[in-house]
């Protein structure tokens, strides 16, 4: 406990069990120092800790027991690894003498988590605790952040030692900081200065590095249009003049098409995930590529770059900006408009302003909520159509305002992540969008919401289908809806059982009233909206196709 306090921890998510009782016993004496949140499932604890980490910028901490408690954290750990989220997972483990004997609730958690964590370590001796915890926090929160697992045996939990605070700021086999290579900066600057059609891609690295103002200084100076990956949303305000929207499978048409037209592509804190690039053989073939990235293993992994700038974008961006000429690319920027108009007419208007006789659409629900919050809320999403609609149509004024499961695409992420986000930012409005599928994967966390009185605003877009899979079945599998229709419970009755305020919207004219009702106070709320059954999230780049094959 002292070791955690020493790292500035104020919030812990968790679930107790046999092999971790001594730690929880110690926690009992520290209830005034930590805000402890009991979730209803260990997976919920990890996602809540992730939501907390993504909004606060500090590592999320969870404590769970051995065996099934520990294996329930796997999804959260893998998710945090793919989305570079600092997460400390402390798990109980059986006695030292019982290790390796298939003892009750023993699993080889270190073995399981090695490929999906940044570092995992078993503590068998209480003397190691102080340093291992310090090392865990250092690793989780420096360089490219990630999840760290500390597996503490019962022996190490029960023997007592005098606590000596330890700090870790150096590991000889792990040097997270790279020195800025001035030659690469000069090369990159020369390429950008001579570019006619430059474009930037903004990833999660900007938010992690808190480099939002450095990003905009860079874009403004060289007048570069920028698009974002879903992890990079809210690094630029939605209304910012150079913000050209989202790239990738369900991104906007203009930046996807323009990726293959630009002559210089500047990737900023992103990793060229397949959901962003589509078919690599046809990706950005007319462009010289400049990659600003903190993780050397991402350089040339998926897309080969002409210049790599290793390091935190907080440092590399200003160094690059300093070498740039002031430029204007008006004609190039204006050329995006043609596709923006096309998308507005053929997709966005239909989604936001459907005819009165049509059923409710996902986009219009998202935009109604977004407008009602003054575009200043934190958006949390689950995974699937709800996620893509929310990311496409929610609007942002403030940085660090999106929590979504990007790399892993974890259904069930939404509810617990929203709890964590709200705890990290109690004064902000937190809106969760989820589907009927994802909601039912972690709806036990409604219990956490009432216990903690966490005022999350949950909007359930219900189409009684696993919508994203249904969409792909409609488009690519001859409408064979295998295993996607769902018989759902009365969601409002579920909320009522927990004592959570709720309303059910089936008609367009009820929507804005219900949204206003939801947002009038800071209490938890479940808004169930019946949306059209066969809604599609468009545009879409079919899996494995090139970004200019986008369908609308």
């Amino acid at each position: 406990m002292e070791a955690l306090l020493n790292e500035g921890v104020d919030t812990i998510f968790g679930y107790p069990g046999g092999s971790i009782i001594p730690v929880f016993d110690a926690l009992y004496d520290y209830t005034d120092k930590f805000h402890y949140v009991l979730t209803r499932h260990e997976q919920g604890a990890t996602h809540a800790a992730q939501g907390y980490a993504r909004i606060s910028g500090k590592p999320g901490v969870c404590i769970v027991t051995s065996g099934p408690g520990a294996t329930n954290t796997i999804t959260g750990i893998a998710d945090a690894m793919l989305d570079s989220t600092p997460l400390i997972v402390i798990t109980g483990q059986v006695n030292n003498t019982m290790l390796g004997t298939d003892a009750f609730q023993e699993t080889d958690l270190i073995g399981i988590t090695l490929p999906i964590s940044k570092w995992s370590y078993q503590i068998r001796d209480p003397k190691e605790i102080a340093f291992a915890v310090a090392k865990a926090f250092y690793i989780a929160n420096t360089g490219r952040p990630g999840p760290v697992v500390l597996d503490i045996t019962k022996t190490a939990q029960t023997e007592s030692v005098d606590f000596k605070p330890e700090k870790c700021d150096f590991i000889r086999s792990y040097i997270p900081k790279s020195t800025i290579d001035t030659e690469s900066i000069d090369n990159a600057a020369a390429i950008i200065n001579s570019a006619k059609k430059p474009m930037a891609l903004v990833g999660h690295g900007v938010t992690i590095g808190e480099a939002e103002s450095e990003l905009m200084a860079f874009l403004d100076k060289a007048d570069i249009p920028a698009a974002w990956t879903i992890m990079g949303e809210s690094a630029m305000p939605t209304d910012y003049r150079l913000n050209k929207g989202m790239v990738g499978m369900h991104g906007n048409i203009a930046p996807n098409i323009k990726t293959n037209e630009c002559d210089v592509l500047i990737a900023i804190g992103m990793r060229f995930a397949d959901r962003v690039t589509g078919d690599l053989k046809r990706y950005a073939k007319n462009a010289k590529i400049i990659h600003l990235e903190i993780d050397p293993a991402e350089i040339n992994k998926n897309v080969k770059c002409d210049v790599a700038l290793l390091g935190n974008v907080k440092q590399t961006l200003p160094a690059l900006t300093a070498k740039l000429n002031k430029q204007e690319h008006t004609q190039w920027i204006n050329s995006f408009a043609e596709y923006e108009t096309k998308e507005k007419e053929r997709v966005i208007d239909k989604e936001l302003h459907p005819t009165q006789c049509e059923s409710l659409k996902m986009g219009e629900v998202v935009r109604t909520v977004s407008d009602a919050t003054g575009s200043d809320a934190i958006l949390v999403t689950d995974v699937g159509q709800n996620q893509m609609a929310a990311l496409r149509y929610f609007r942002f004024k403030s940085k660090r305002s999106v929590v979504t499961s990007g790399g892993a695409g974890t259904m069930g992420f939404g509810i617990p992540a929203a709890i964590g986000a709200k705890i990290a930012a109690p004064k902000r409005t937190v809106c969760l969008f989820c589907g009927d599928g994802g909601f039912q994967m972690t709806m036990q966390e409604l219990g956490t919401i009432i216990q903690e009185k966490t005022g999350v605003k949950m909007i359930l877009l219900n189409n009684n289908y696993l919508g994203m899979v249904r969409q792909q079945q409609e488009l690519f599998f001859s409408r064979r809806y295998s295993s996607t229709p769902m018989l759902n419970p009365d969601f409002c009755a579920v909320a009522k059982a927990y004592g959570i305020a709720t309303s059910h919207v089936t008609k367009r004219e009820e929507l804005s009233g219900a949204v206003n009702d939801m947002l009038q106070d800071d209490k938890p709320y479940l808004l169930v909206v019946e949306i059209e059954e066969n809604g599609l999230v468009l545009p879409m780049v079919p899996p494995g196709k090139g970004n200019d094959d986008i369908i609308i």
Partner: protein, 184 residues
């Protein structure tokens, strides 16, 4: 891309579970490890892994970077055969009776520059150090003439043709960084 044999050298801290961390990177990309040898390096507390695998250069570059990324790995790099001096060691167990009855073993030993490690009543153990083809050729010849009871070959050990072990340079740099931090 052309596939060829790459030798990956990894220097790591001496902590449990490291071999697992390294092999996971190969497994995820479905690369078969041909040979593997692990031993303490010249520098105290640091272990050295020598791994060979057939793959292409783009893949091996990524593999090495992903190994290097692991927290407890100090340094990983790859080389092709022409940049290395490398050897493998092989042991051959043959039947004493047959050797005595058939004769001719001395010429094989001389031909392959092998040596006799042990002579026992029931078996003789020969040892040969060399390249893969050499130890294999000797095996083939013994097998077809006298017959081999047991055969074992080690993984590759390799050193680069550079003057210095690259790790020592790196360690020196790391120590400098550490001192800078302490001064701060």
């Amino acid at each position: 891309m052309e596939k060829k044999l790459y030798t990956v050298t990894v220097f790591s801290e001496n902590v449990p579970g490291l071999l697992n961390q390294i092999t996971i990177v190969f497994t995820r990309r479905q690369i078969n490890i041909e040979t593997l040898s692990v031993s303490p390096s010249a520098i105290k507390g640091i272990h050295k892994f020598t791994i060979t695998a057939y793959t292409d250069e783009d893949t091996i570059k990524n593999v090495v970077k992903q190994i290097d990324k692991r927290i407890d790995i100090l340094k990983a790099y790859y080389n092709t055969d022409d940049e290395l001096i490398y050897q493998e060691i092989a042991l051959y167990k043959i039947e004493t009776g047959k050797v005595l009855a058939m004769g001719g073993i001395e010429s094989i030993i001389r031909k392959y520059d092998a040596r006799v490690l042990e002579v026992l009543e029931n078996c003789i153990v020969l040892e040969k150090t060399g390249l893969y083809e050499e130890t294999q050729n000797m095996f083939n010849e013994l097998q077809s003439s006298i017959g081999v009871l047991q055969f074992i070959r080690s993984g590759r050990v390799a050193i680069t043709k550079d003057k210095k072990e690259r790790l020592s340079d790196m360690l020196a740099k790391i120590e400098e960084l550490k001192e800078l931090k302490v001064k701060k």
